[in-house]
């Protein structure tokens, strides 16, 4: 029982450290691609500490509770995700609960943004929700393919089965789903071709237009957690999780860095173009993956 409590306490902290490290790494890699020297790896930590000391502006109670709900939602999802051998809350709901709690974060940000009553924010929210509808179609097909393939809805079992046999990205029907998930990863993380909902130039960073000191800090922490969640989900489902956290961390790094290369050089999609792209190739692959698993799975 004690190890379970330790897991519950430490896995969000670990996720935060990994997420913030990824943010710092992202800025460093993008700077190097731009031939710039780039900030130190701990720059996000410095930013967050400064933001906590910075006063800020609030537009009412819903403005505060929305951002708190969104960060709480992201942290709760981390509790459901296995990190190496640890999976704090495995026995209560599995992948379906992860799927549904993952929508708490955008909903909370949207509520607090709505209260901010700024046209940039409203445009940001509408784009974010349309984009999430866009990448959710292939994501659902991928999750369903994995669940029907392993006949279970608990992610811990998926990991254990993969530990035994080969990674699922190599087994035939799921390679399509794996590739499709990898194609929509930039959309989930909000990397460049799809960062249409927080575009600093057009809609002055959409949802975060009215976020001041500690709100911006919570928003960056929440972005770090979303980074961790989406990549950990990919690694757990397709690269077979890991025996100990170090290997897990290396696998996450391998998945994260290619997305950055596209982020550094790609211009930004419009919302329709993004959704058209998301509903074309990734959905086709995921669709084929699901059909194959149902046919072969039997």
């Amino acid at each position: 029982m004690v190890t379970k409590v330790m897991q519950i306490i430490f896995s969000p902290v670990l996720a935060l450290v990994v997420g913030v490290f990824f943010l710092g790494l992202a800025r460093k890699i993008i700077a190097r691609i731009h031939w710039r020297w780039g900030p130190p790896l701990v720059q996000p930590v410095i930013d967050i500490v400064r933001l906590f000391y910075q006063k800020s502006v609030s537009h009412g109670l819903v403005f505060d509770l929305g951002i708190i709900l969104s960060l709480a939602g992201s942290i709760v999802v981390v509790l459901f995700l296995p990190f190496g051998r640890w999976c704090p809350l495995d026995g209560s709901g599995g992948l379906l609960v992860i799927l549904y709690i993952m929508l708490l974060a955008p909903l909370g940000m949207a509520l607090s943004g709505g209260e901010g009553a700024n046209p940039n924010i409203s445009i940001g929210i509408s784009r974010k929700l349309i984009l999430s509808l866009g990448y959710e179609v292939p994501l659902l097909l991928v999750l369903l393919a994995v669940m029907t393939r392993y006949k279970t809805i608990s992610i811990m079992e998926v990991v254990n089965v993969q530990q035994g046999t080969s990674w699922s990205i190599i087994s035939f029907p799921l390679v399509l789903s794996g590739v499709s998930y990898f194609l929509i990863l930039p959309a989930i993380l909000g990397l460049r071709p799809f960062d249409v909902s927080s575009a600093p130039q057009e809609i002055s960073s959409g949802l975060m237009a009215e976020y001041g000191g500690k709100y911006l800090a919570l928003a960056t922490i929440e972005h770090a957690f979303v980074l961790f969640i989406s990549i950990a989900l990919f690694v757990n489902m397709f690269l077979g999780g890991a025996a100990n956290p170090i290997i897990f961390f290396v696998k996450m790094l391998v998945v994260f860095v290619p997305g950055l290369f596209i982020h550094a050089v790609f211009p930004r999609f419009r919302v329709e173009q993004a959704v058209k792209y998301l509903w074309k190739w990734p959905t086709l692959l995921a669709f084929l993956g699901l059909i194959m698993t149902m046919v072969i799975g039997g």
């Binding site: 020297w37 780039g38 410095i46 910075q54 960073s205």
Partner: protein, 189 residues
């Protein structure tokens, strides 16, 4: 750069954090804005000092006023300055904000910008080069270190005189005062 000295961090985290993470909002007023892109891109990278462009004044704590200030843009500058959250620093580029510069006798430019909003740092030059901008940033660090970069505190203490100057220059202002005289609504903390 004493950024990597952990002891300084532990002693005064707020000051160190304010020094090494300046999210700048630069206002494209006059000709100075052409100096800013080279500052934040490949040749002279500002990000290694922790300076990244911020999208809105709410997210920023450094305000760069680049170039001459016409009477019309003064209204927008005051509005943006008031929307920035507390510990905020302003840097004036070039000679025009200092004393009107080349347009010292023009009927529609503002001569001494710091009659209207407090300025923490000046960069002389009829459009300073990027190196001058970095010297200004490092100078700003020392000011922050010695707690002399207190523009926002001066603004709060002498708000009445700043406000009256603004009304003398611009006539009636559409937005209510940031720190109301009777200090009951806003509770000037």
């Amino acid at each position: 750069m004493d950024r990597n000295q952990i002891t300084k961090w532990l002693k005064a985290p707020a000051k160190m954090a304010n020094k090494y993470s300046l999210h700048a909002i630069y206002f494209c007023t006059g000709c100075g804005i052409i100096e800013v892109p080279p500052v934040i891109t490949a040749r002279w990278d500002a990000e290694r000092f922790g300076i990244i462009p911020a999208a809105t004044p709410r997210q920023a704590n450094l305000f760069l006023i680049t170039g001459y200030v016409s009477v019309k843009t003064l209204r927008a500058i005051i509005r943006t300055y008031e929307q920035m959250p507390e510990p905020k620093y302003t840097v004036g580029f070039g000679s025009c904000p200092i004393n009107g510069g080349m347009y010292w006798d023009s009927y529609n430019t503002i001569k001494h910008l710091d009659k209207y909003i407090p300025i923490d740092g000046w960069i002389a030059g009829c459009m300073p080069r990027p190196e001058a901008i970095f010297i200004a940033v490092t100078h700003l660090w020392t000011l922050i270190e010695k707690d002399m970069a207190n523009g926002y505190i001066r603004y709060k203490d002498n708000y009445e005189s700043y406000r009256s100057n603004q009304e003398m220059a611009l006539g009636k202002l559409e937005w209510p005062p940031l720190y109301p005289a009777s200090d009951e609504h806003r509770g000037g903390e």
